[in-house]
């Protein structure tokens, strides 16, 4: 779906609002395009000028005698719609609107922005911005942006929602020698947003890694699809800031750890997106992916000329979930024979303080050859003997001979090591000052490798024994009653219609009715007040359990009604629900909340009091979830240890739990109106399970 590919092959550009005056945006743009070495035609447009920066200036777009691939617009915001009309009439299909004072200033600006978008849609123009910094492409090459720095050519594609960050990075990248393929500033994202550009970069042969700085995501589900497809081809690394997108927050009182950020985290993980936590990490990862081959696994070898840094690096490897490689016997033998006696031949390989380039070279080659090593970290401390530049040359040479394994250099020092580190960077070997960022980068790469290995998708879940019409009928009644919260009896009926073993629940209006229900259901029973207005029934003493005969049920009914009236005088309960009491099982929770951005999110974990205490909950997006993923979701929690039979307990029926979660996921996916669903507690038994209390909230 790389619909942008033909559009972004730019051969001619018009700059509308071009200016003669140095320092004005309209002048900066003209100069930037010229200075970037753009070989196509440049048409400045300004009704009052004849010539700008040596180029013929046109009165209007219609006066330009040739076709135009890209219009860069920097006229004042109120004039933009007219300019866009002109662009449309001229047949221009791609525009970059630098002008600001649109939706970022409020409703008036938003209206103007909508007008602009409407015109774009009318003429089939794809637009960057408004309020963006422009686009840069080192392969065309063209700098159609206000960035004074034009980056070196490279294979990193960069999408930035922040203009200022983009400007800073373009400037900084030159000092560290980082090269980019294509760079896009998103601005207000009135038309083009991250989704389309990720598609484009995924199909772009000149881009090896996709980098995004995002503050929010438009069209969450489409974004995930794009990212998911892209990450099968190349790594997609996202730095996501801006927690204020509260529309994306998702929470329920018990799966309380759910927050907007968690929705992002879950969605990103499932789409295979690598999430950077800091700006440093974003560019470290970019550098690593850009420069190095992918590690085949997570086994790291460390070579060092000093003990302390080796220990720090080893611990960091473990902390990042990687493992220290265990060398083959041949490697160990060769290291033992050739390294000094005081050296440590096991990982981390300590080649001691007097190591020079030759010893580094020997050790590095030995571990590179070892099939048990997936990546190598090489630490150089400024000892008296160390010759950092020669060591750099040796590393570069060996990298060329063993191009399939990634090498990360840690030049732990400052001035003494600066030149060596620079040589490595120029030769595209990532070099760091301290171990943590280097190993964090390896961890990111290994994560991507693991994901690439896991590309075998399971089949989608389907059931033949579900009764969606029954659910429709229940929802119809609830909506007619202008309620968004289902009564327990209704929720149980909905779950049952989807084949979930819900504990029988019946609504009683009078004490006599409650007794009759209990007699049919069989004792013991538990009574719960039925009201959509009451979130926590026990808080208002609206629950009475362990009832074993008719008299107890009768009295409990009246007690519960009176308790609730005392706590919440304005709430009129629908009645009292009679629930069958179940034997104790392993207490679990299954929750679902519809994230505004990414759709339904499903949660599984230990239930009861443990929910808030242990926060032992794992999450997945419900749409298209497979049985294998549900099993993985269960096994991620501490609850899974309990379920497998902890300390002589009988193991629980995990297959029935997987089936239950799959049914809940199906229910949520089938009925978009369900905004929340919570089964808490869910008792798991050696044979089957029982869903005790089901809460369902729907949107009217």
């Amino acid at each position: 779906m790389a619909e942008l590919t033909p559009l972004l092959a730019i051969h001619s550009v018009a700059i509308i609002g071009a200016s003669k005056k140095t320092g004005k945006v309209g002048n900066v743009l003209v100069r930037n395009v010229i200075n970037s070495g753009f070989t196509g035609e440049i048409f400045p447009v300004n009704p009052t000028e004849k010539e700008i920066e040596g180029l013929v200036c046109y009165q209007g777009i219609r006066d330009i005698p040739k076709p135009i691939d890209l219009a860069v617009v920097c006229v004042p915001a109120p004039n933009c719609p007219d300019v866009m009309e002109e662009c449309g009439k001229k047949g221009i299909k791609l525009a970059v609107v630098i002008s600001s004072y649109f939706s970022e200033i409020g409703p008036e600006g938003l209206k103007l922005e909508k007008r602009l978008t409407h015109i774009c849609n009318k003429y089939g123009i794809r637009m960057f911005g408004p309020n963006c910094e422009g686009i840069l492409d080192t392969l065309i090459p063209i700098n159609a942006s206000i960035s004074p720095s034009f980056p070196m050519q490279g294979d990193i594609g960069f999408i930035s929602q922040s203009g200022a960050i983009l400007l800073s990075i373009m400037d900084w990248s030159k000092t560290v020698g980082l090269g980019f393929s294509r760079v896009f500033s998103l601005g207000n994202k009135a038309d083009l947003c991250e989704t389309g550009l990720i598609h484009y970069l995924a199909d772009d042969p000149s881009t090896k890694v996709i980098l995004c700085y995002l503050e929010d995501v438009r069209k969450g589900e489409e974004f995930l699809e794009a990212a998911s497809q892209a990450s099968q081809k190349k790594p997609v690394i996202v730095l996501k800031f801006g927690a204020s997108q509260a529309g994306a927050l998702a929470a329920s009182s018990h799966t309380g750890v759910v927050g907007s950020d968690l929705a992002y985290e879950t969605a990103f993980t499932q789409a295979g997106i690598l999430r950077a936590r800091t700006m440093t990490e974003l560019f470290d990862l970019a550098k690593s992916f850009s420069y190095q081959p992918l590690p085949k696994g997570d086994r790291v070898a460390i070579i060092t000329n000093a003990g302390g840094p080796g220990i720090v690096a080893s611990d960091t490897v473990e902390n990042f979930g990687l493992s220290m490689a265990r060398f083959e016997k041949e490697t160990l033998d060769s290291l033992r024979e050739n390294l000094p006696l005081e050296a440590n031949i096991y990982n981390p390989v300590d080649i001691v303080f007097d190591a020079k380039a030759d010893r580094y070279g020997f050790a590095l080659e030995a571990v590179l050859k070892d099939p048990n090593v997936d990546s190598v970290v090489i630490i150089v401390c400024p000892t008296a003997a160390a010759d950092p530049e020669n060591i750099a040359r040796t590393i570069i040479g060996l990298r060329d001979r063993y191009p399939d394994k990634p090498i990360f250099a840690i030049y732990m020092g400052g001035l003494a090591l600066a030149e060596g580190a620079k040589m490595l960077t120029r030769a595209k070997i990532p070099s760091f000052t301290f171990p943590e960022p280097a190993i964090s980068s390896i961890s990111g790469m290994a994560k991507y490798t693991r994901r690439a290995d896991k590309q075998t998708e399971g089949e989608e879940i389907s059931f033949t024994d579900i009764d969606s019409n029954r659910v429709k009928a229940i929802f119809y009644d609830v909506i007619r009653d202008r309620r968004s919260v289902l009564l327990g009896s209704e929720a149980a009926a909905v779950a049952t219609a989807y084949g979930i073993s819900a504990v029988p629940v019946k609504l009683a209006i009078t004490p006599e009715e409650a007794v009759a229900i209990a007699e049919t259901m069989g004792y013991p029973v538990i009574l719960k007040v039925a009201s959509p207005k009451i979130l926590h029934k026990t808080d208002v003493r609206g629950v009475s359990g362990g009832l074993n005969n008719a008299t107890e049920v009768h009295n409990a009914f009246l007690d519960v009604i009176e308790n609730v009236q005392r706590y919440l005088p304005n709430v009129i309960p629908y009645g009292i629900e009679v629930n069958k009491m179940m034997p104790k099982g392993t207490e679990l929770i299954v929750g679902m909340t519809r994230d505004v951005q990414f759709g339904p999110l499903i949660a599984f974990g230990l239930g009861g009091v443990y929910v808030n205490l242990l926060k032992d909950v794992s999450f997945r997006l419900a749409k298209g979830i497979t049985l294998a993923e549900i099993a993985a979701m269960i096994s991620e929690t501490k609850a899974s240890t309990l379920l497998r039979g902890f300390r002589g307990e009988k193991p629980a029926d995990i297959m029935s739990l997987i089936d239950m979660i799959a049914r809940a996921a199906k229910l949520i996916s089938d009925f978009e109106e369900i905004s929340e669903l919570e089964i808490n507690p869910l008792f798991s038994y050696p044979n089957g399970y029982a869903a005790l209390d089901i809460k369902i909230t729907i949107e009217l």
Binding site: G106, A243, S244, L249, A250, A251, V258, S484, P573, E699
Partner: protein, 349 residues
């Protein structure tokens, strides 16, 4: 000429009942007039709003000062006891209104006991105007039934021909209780139940325009959507993590929140919200206004605190306007489907 005095507590749906009965009787070919002896005014209207509504609906030629001859504010006694001239005015106006009609629907003041000090409460006026009465009950619990029985007895003790009671705005959960418990109990003590009307959204839900009128303040966006109905009030005092759970439970809600809580306001906009009221005079983040505009949700900025706003909102009740045909249709339907209007007409003297 018959006359029927409609009494009931605040929010019991007296106006809807007046509209429903008057238009139903009119449909039946009767000449119907409306009379509200003791009216009240609001900030925006100088005449009684019910009088304005009914004058239009019934095409009454009489001026508003005749349809509602007395306007009494909560501080009416400041002008001293003017009961004699008030009663005279009421009687004169009533004579004019009732001339050439088959039935006059008389609407009671905001409370049935209003003006009791000077002897012009609804039961006393019913005697003066020789009207039969019905008493509307907005039953919330057993005490509100007690209150109604208390009023019933008081009305009867004046010698008024009390036709019976109509339960209004009945939520589904207590329909069965009213039918099975309240109605027989009332019958035992001699009061007949003339109707049980279920709660109707269009009649009991105030519009955003009413919220604006009541709270004042600056409308930041949503001018075109002031006719949205409100059904719930939620205050954004919860944590952001649990906000959605609460927000998703309120339909067509009025959401009250400080202007500096952009996160909460944005979350509310993703759920069913009819109006966002920003308290404390804090202007919101531009994102909030943009999103509200996109969603068509009015945003109101008020300069007082949340508590004051809530207090003011407690006065909010659904209101019928002449333009709102849907409301008017519902009011007639309620009378037709759920009330013994033939019985009322028959027994009314």
């Amino acid at each position: 000429m018959k006359s029927l005095y409609i009494m009931g507590s605040v929010g019991s749906g007296k106006t809807a009942m007046a509209v429903g009965l008057a238009l139903k009787f009119k449909q039946e070919g009767l000449k119907v007039a409306y009379f509200k002896p003791v009216g009240s005014t609001t900030l925006t209207s100088k005449a009684d709003e019910d009088a304005i509504l009914m004058k239009e609906l019934l095409n009454m030629p009489e001026p508003l000062e005749i349809i509602s001859p007395i306007i009494a504010s909560p501080l009416y006694l400041s002008r001293g006891n003017r009961s004699t001239e008030m009663l005279r005015a009421i009687k004169e106006a009533f004579t004019k209104v009732s001339t050439n009609t088959d039935i006059v629907i008389i609407d009671s003041a905001i409370y049935p006991y209003a003006l009791s000090t000077i002897g012009l409460d609804s039961p006393s006026l019913a005697v003066e105007l020789n009207a039969s009465a019905i008493y509307l009950i907005n039953a919330k619990n057993d005490y509100t039934l007690d209150e109604s029985v208390f009023h019933n007895r008081y009305i009867q003790s004046h010698g008024v021909n009390l036709l019976g009671n109509i339960f209004t705005h009945v939520p589904i959960p207590i329909q069965a209780k009213i039918e099975g418990v309240y109605k027989p109990l009332l019958a035992d003590i001699g009061f007949s139940t003339l109707g049980i009307i279920p709660k109707q959204r269009v009649l009991s839900s105030p519009s955003v325009a009413q919220v604006h009128e009541l709270l004042g303040g600056e409308l930041l966006t949503g001018e075109d959507n002031l006719d949205l109905l409100t059904e719930d009030i939620i205050v954004g005092a919860m944590t952001i993590e649990s906000a959605l759970v609460h927000l998703r439970r309120g339909n067509n809600k009025i959401f009250l929140i400080g202007g500096d809580r952009a996160d909460m306001a944005l979350a509310a906009l993703e759920t069913s919200t009819s109006v966002i009221v920003l308290t404390g005079g804090l202007y919101p983040d531009v994102k909030v206004i943009n999103r509200a505009m996109e969603k068509g949700v009015p945003v109101l900025l008020v300069h007082y605190d949340t508590y004051t706003a809530i207090e003011r909102l407690s006065e909010l009740a659904g209101r019928i306007t002449p333009k709102n045909q849907n409301c008017i249709r519902k009011a007639i339907e309620n009378v037709e489907r759920y009330c013994d209007w033939q019985g009322i007409l028959r027994e009314c003297k």
